[in-house]
Amino acid sequence: MITSFLAKALGRNIVIAAAILLALAALVPALNLLTAPDHALHVPTYVVSLFGKYLTYALLALALDLVWGFCGILSLGHAAFFALGGYAMGMYLMRQIGARGSYGNPLLPDFMVFLNWKELPWFWHGFDKFWFAALMAVLVPGLLAFVFGWFAFRSRVNGVYLSIITQAMTFALLLAFFRNDMGFGGNNGLTDFKDILGFNIQSNGTRSALFAASAIALALSLVITSGIVRSKYGKILIGVRDAESRTRFLGYRVEHMKLFAFVVSAMMAGVAGALYVPQVGIINPGEFEPANSIEVVIWTAVGGRGTLIGPIVGAIVVNGGKSIFTAAFPEFWLFALGGLFVLVTLFLPKGIVGTARQFVERRKEYRKAREAEAAAFAAEPQAAE
């Protein structure tokens, strides 16, 4: 069963992509740790943590692509799952500080101390153990997605209505986490982490390990996603995207199909968030901003939705661009970014990877038969709403 799943998952492109990711997971830390800083091949720590961050974004984009690209559910609240995963990890890191906080309170994080909290809220218990936090980083987003999706898909909330209520969800969470009374550190969020699994979070070794972990997680998720979308279930998902009522009249429970993809996707986003937090050193409610979720949609669209490699490329290109532009033209970078989005929409409607693939396919078909080319042009799948 699993083998057939894997056999389908490992198409040629996926094998190459996963291999590259795994190679990066080994090579980048090696080049960072083992070469001298002035060596030509040295990868500075700055680059390691930057790309580590991009990889978690790529994982988030991949998660979104599973529901949007393959199932047509445009979630404008995916950053919420990412942030919840991040908070779970942040809570673990916070508990690891122990008595090393400013006030030396062995139990309570600093922000609780100066707001006069006397005891640890119940939902903070258990987060001193890594396995528990890791579990929660997956389960909490999964559970939220399950509850939310169960209601929404059962009621057949569709299209923009679904998009807007996912946005409402993340906005409500944003406001909730802003509240200092919630016990998650309010606007400042969780920060000032010291170590993870006993390793200093700021050491080069830990950073490299986190980078490697992100790359491996992304490779794994890529294989799993690939397996999902290439299975019969995946074909049904695409069917739901293109002709929902047809799948229904074929006797499939569309709401279950959607729910499964939504929950898996939320869990992947949670993993991404959990890997993101130790690398950037802070998690705060800003991650719930509706604008962040929209950005994830944009990475996916720029890379090419409905392709597996696209979201990864999109996340890295857009964020890389942002990193370069904000330093190179700090006053004007929004023009560049905004312009990029407009141009991609107009000239690369299928995104970078989608267009490249289309180009390759066109050439193949052109060679095969001239008339097929015309058909191929008309064959663009309908954008599902």
Binding site: S155, S163, I164, V342
Partner: protein, 543 residues
């Protein structure tokens, strides 16, 4: 440094001497003594000046009124060289001096040669009370009414004498009523006998309102036992009245918030609701409208100050044109290539919104710009126990007017008919000879223009900054979706429902939790009605 210190010291010395002189001379009413008292205002500190103002008030001489008014406004200056105090009017880089008592012009002086006599809240309060007492006998009814009102708000035992005199002389009934109320209020804070106070309590309870409540609460603390039950009963009575009004007030707040939501969303109801474009640049259209208002006001301020009250009326059509034009360009350049791909409009319009924000930031700077309220939109009036602010009232009226205008446009005009035809069946409309590209462009321009005029109204209550639009975009989408996409009435009902709901939750849950609850309710509501409040039924929409 040293020179300054010596100067200060001399000033203080001078002030002390003056103070002593005035205290000695309070009984004398000669103009010379008034002059000394006014001059003594220079150099005194706030506490000393409060006493000084009270002393001036006790003279009862209306001649000191202009000086006191100028002091409250911060227009009273002392000439450094001789310590004489003048009222000043700015005249270019220097000041025109006006004699503080006679009102005669007394030449000009450079700004550096004068020292402003500072005022703070305490002093301003004292001056207000003093002016109240001094203007009770003014020949002008309006001034007398205002004076009585002032004493009513700042009652003091000292005012009683003047009030009694004024009551005896008063002919105007309206003024008489207020004087009576002011007198009652003043008795409450005086040491008059209990009987008199009891009568006063009754009058104060009769007056009602928040100020009376405040007065009674204060009186309660110092009242003797016999009076307590009366005061307590009075407090309860006013409290009950206020509770009823509070509910009305809450509805009003809800309507007002609803009107803001309606304004923010109504343009989106066209670009998103009717045309299906997920227009993330909608908020920026609102922002552009607000900036248009700013520019109009800026031009008026510098060139035609007299027209300020008309600034919004001038800004409205301009904002419509400016944002409409931006919308037109946007539609022609970008959106027309994206029909039938609604989700891609999200991406492109998001890009446009970033560009517009940064453009405004580059042109006008990142900081807030000042947009003033015209006089007819400033302040508030009392409606029973409710406070209705003019700007909120006008915004409600305006929002409804925009709604009606839009409804009329869509339902009763040829253009509206074409718009609806195109959005319902593009191909059919096109084959009937409607120039669909133009209709698309105009519809989008209309939606953008409406967002722009919403911006004119919102500039009256919110920041005018490049971030303005971001604050409204989410709420706007919530309103349109809650009401049901493609239905203007849905937007109207949705906006007011959410507004009132929010305001009713706020007192119990607080502003943050209230908002969270509203969002959760929207999510739940969409489960119940997956196509919003005013969903279109039938099979056409589901195909």
């Amino acid at each position: 440094m040293h020179a300054r210190l010596i100067h200060r010291f001399l000033q203080c010395l001078f002030a002390t001497v003056c103070l002593m002189v005035t205290l000695l001379a309070t009984d004398l009413r000669a103009a010379d003594d008034l002059r000394v008292m006014v001059d003594a205002l220079g150099g005194g500190n706030f506490q000393e000046n409060q006493k000084q103002v009270e002393a001036l008030a006790r003279t009862g001489d209306p001649k000191v009124v202009p000086a006191l008014e100028a002091l409250a406004e911060g227009d009273l200056y002392q000439r450094k060289i001789d310590g004489i105090v003048f009222i000043v009017r700015p005249a270019g880089s220097s000041f025109k001096l006006i004699d503080a008592l006679t009102g005669e012009e007394a030449g000009e002086e450079a700004k550096a040669a004068l020292e402003k006599i500072k005022v703070n809240n305490g002093l301003r309060r004292t001056i207000r009370a003093a002016l109240g007492g001094l203007t009770l006998m003014s020949p002008d009814v309006a001034v007398r009414l205002q004076a009585a009102g002032t004493i009513l708000r700042t009652p003091s035992a000292d005012a009683l004498e003047g009030l009694d005199a004024a009551l005896a002389a008063e002919t105007d009934n309206a003024v008489k009523v207020v004087l009576g109320q002011a007198r009652a209020a003043s008795i409450l804070v005086s040491d008059r006998p209990a009987d008199e106070k009891r009568a006063a309590v009754a009058t104060v309870v009769e007056t009602g309102g928040r100020d009376s409540l405040s007065l009674l609460s204060a009186a309660l603390a110092s009242a003797d036992e016999s009076l307590r039950p009366d005061i307590e009963a009075g407090i309860k009575k006013i409290d009950d009245q206020l509770a009823i009004w509070a509910a009305g007030q809450n509805i009003w707040y809800g309507l007002s918030l609803g009107s803001v939501l309606l304004l923010a969303a109504i343009g989106l109801a066209i670009t998103f609701g009717v045309m299906g474009i997920i227009n993330m640049a909608h908020g920026e259209m609102v922002m552009l409208g607000a900036y248009t208002t700013f520019v109009v006001q800026q031009v008026i301020r510098t060139s035609f100050p007299g027209l300020f009250d008309w600034s919004l009326a001038i800004a409205l059509p301009l904002a419509f044109l400016v944002t409409g034009a931006v919308g037109l360009v946007m539609e022609r350049a970008i959106i027309r290539f994206l029909y039938g791909r609604p989700l891609e409009t999200l991406l492109a319009t998001w890009g446009v919104s970033l560009i517009l924000q940064q453009a405004v930031r580059s042109i006008f700077g990142p900081t807030n710009q000042e947009v003033g309220n015209p006089s007819w939109m400033s302040g508030a009036f009392e409606l029973g126990g409710m406070t209705i602010t003019w700007n909120r009232l006008w915004i409600i009226v305006f929002a409804l007017a925009v709604f009606v205008f839009l409804l009329f446009l869509l339902k009763k005009t040829a253009m509206g008919l074409q718009m609806r035809a195109v959005t319902q069946n593009r191909r059919m409309a096109s084959s009937m000879g409607i120039r669909t590209p133009w209709v698309d462009a105009l519809t989008f321009a209309l939606g953008s223009g409406i967002a722009g005029i919403a911006g004119v109204a919102l500039s009256q209550i919110d920041n005018v900054s490049p971030n303005l639009g971001q604050g409204y975009i989410i709420d706007s989408f919530m309103v349109v979706v809650f009401g049901g996409v493609g239905n203007l009435w849905g937007t109207l009902v949705g906006a007011f429902t959410l507004g009132i709901l929010n305001k009713f939750l706020e007192p119990y849950a607080g502003a943050v939790l209230g908002k969270i609850l509203v969002l959760v309710l929207i999510i739940l509501f969409i489960q119940k009605r997956p196509r919003g409040l005013f969903a279109l039924k039938g099979r056409a929409v589901e195909a």
